[in-house]
């Protein structure tokens, strides 16, 4: 294993508090909730495992961690449980990131059998490919067809929160100016933009 201090990004002289803070920050970052439905979910899970191990190792080395710090989250992955599903094979394919095969099965389903689940899985394939618009439409259809299904709802909610992406506190829906009140900044930004345009097409025009 790598140096556990390195994994958590702290120096070996860091205090216990600093280590805990670093661990918490990383655990929040890699939390499975952030990677719902993502094609990278397994990698995030792996990272989570690494920092958990590193944190445990440090605690052991420091002869502390006698079960006092056990409130950390364990990666509870919500894998598809519905084995009775009509599209069981599709789910397995998606789980293994074999999107072409999954879509092949879905596309060969006759029109009459295209249930809410079909739209959900179709959306999941699109999502894995990065086709966000198609995924959004399919998840919406699935939810409309079966409004009580938690799984479809969760996928749609996940999408919606991404679509209302709010990092850096910008783009508040109630603030039409997007928080860019400072005209001086606007001028600077505009000049940067103009500068860049010059760079881009300098030779062209």
């Amino acid at each position: 294993m790598n140096n556990p201090y390195e994994v958590l990004g702290v120096s070996e002289t860091a205090t216990d508090e600093e280590i805990k803070a670093a661990y918490r920050k990383l655990a929040k970052k890699y939390h499975p909730d952030n990677y719902n439905d993502s094609p990278l979910a397994d990698i995030a899970e792996q990272k989570m495992k690494e920092i958990n191990e590193a944190y445990d190792a440090i605690n052991q080395m420091r002869q502390k961690g006698k079960g006092t710090d056990s409130q950390r989250s364990s990666g509870s992955s919500s894998y598809y449980g519905a084995s009775s599903s009509q599209f069981y094979s599709v789910r397995i394919y998606i789980q293994r990131n074999m999107i072409n095969q999954a879509e092949q099965v879905l596309d060969s389903t006759p029109m009459g059998n295209r249930t809410a689940e079909w739209y959900y899985l179709k959306g999941m394939c699109a999502y894995r490919r990065g086709f966000n618009e198609q995924a959004f439409n399919n998840f919406t259809t699935a939810c409309n067809m079966d409004p009580n299904n938690g799984e479809y709802r969760a996928a749609l909610n996940n999408m919606q929160s991404q679509r209302a992406y709010n990092y850096g506190g910008y783009n508040q829906p109630n603030n039409p100016n997007g928080g860019m009140g400072c005209s001086c900044c606007d001028v600077c930004a505009a000049m940067m933009c103009a500068d860049c345009m010059c760079d881009c097409c300098g030779a062209g025009c």
Binding site: E133, C185, C193, D199, C200, A203, G204
Partner: protein, 284 residues
């Protein structure tokens, strides 16, 4: 690419800003060395980003040195030093992508613009050949993108997803080819895909009015109603959200503060500036 990958300068630490600038200057110098002084003109923020990413991935930034700016000899410059070929690769990407962009413009610009493009195209063609010899893969990705883009635009009902796919795919291949670890490959592939998608969708929105006026292809059917704008913003937001999630799983350590700034502040600012135009145009 189109110069959308900008940092938000006001929120960077001074040392980070200096590092950023020194990569920019280093790349500019390389463009002059590899191609010509004229080629320096096409240097963009996008390529600076690419160079920075390459250096971070290969851990090849070895320090900084002072020198003189080639454009303005009175000005002192700092240059980021690089032990690998990040600079020359990014320069190659610059000239190759500029060439294909011009070639594409030949098809849909007006008469005078066409004349001008024809005048400079031989230079670009020469640089492209030189760059492609050194980095055939980069040339393959970009040529492939251009071809697929043309095909996608010929589809009867080209969806946003289909229209954005070639650009997204190009960045995805470009980024993921830089690492050998399987998991990191997938992370960078998703990162590149969503970032490329964002660039394409934003550029299409940026050009929307111009394209409609001239009757050129634009993936947006309409951007006049409130719900169209909401949809546009949502799809852009989602690209950034997914790109940022993927970025969170990358392993590299260098320039982290700059990338954070770019993804969390710079790109949203660039995006808002463009979408604000459609939101009633009161921010003109």
């Amino acid at each position: 690419m189109f110069g959308y990958l900008q940092i938000q300068k006001s929120e960077l630490l001074v040392r980070e800003y200096e590092a950023y600038k020194s990569v920019y200057c280093g790349l500019c110098r390389q463009m002059g060395r590899d191609y010509s002084h004229l080629a320096r003109l096409i240097l963009s923020y996008d390529c600076t980003f690419y160079a920075m990413l390459l250096m971070a991935l290969s851990k090849s930034c070895s320090g900084f040195e002072s020198g003189r700016c080639a454009f303005n000899p009175l000005k002192k410059c700092k240059y980021a030093l690089c032990t690998g070929d990040a600079y020359s690769k990014a320069s190659a990407f610059s000239v190759i992508s500029a060439y294909y962009k011009l070639e594409d413009d030949l098809n849909d610009e007006g008469f005078f613009k066409k004349l001008m493009i024809r005048a400079v195209l031989p230079f670009f063609s020469h640089w492209r050949k030189k760059a492609a010899k050194k980095y055939p893969e980069t040339d393959d990705y970009l040529r492939d993108m251009t071809e697929k883009q043309t095909n996608a635009e010929m589809l009867n009902d080209c969806s946003l997803d289909q229209a954005a796919h070639p650009t997204a795919q190009m960045l995805s291949s470009l980024f993921s080819s830089e690492v050998s670890d399987e998991a990191q490959k997938r992370v960078l592939s998703e990162f590149g895909y969503q970032l490329g998608r964002w660039i394409y969708l934003l550029d299409a929105a940026d050009d929307y009015e111009k394209d409609k006026k001239r009757g050129r292809f634009n993936p947006y059917v309409s951007l006049s109603k409130k719900e169209d704008i909401n949809r546009l913003e949502s799809s852009l937001n989602q690209c950034l959200a997914r790109a940022y999630d993927a970025y969170g799983l990358t392993d590299f350590k260098d320039f982290r503060g700059i990338f954070d700034n770019l993804l969390l502040l710079g790109l949203p600012t660039v995006q808002n500036k463009i979408t604000d135009r459609f939101n009633g145009g009161n921010n003109e």
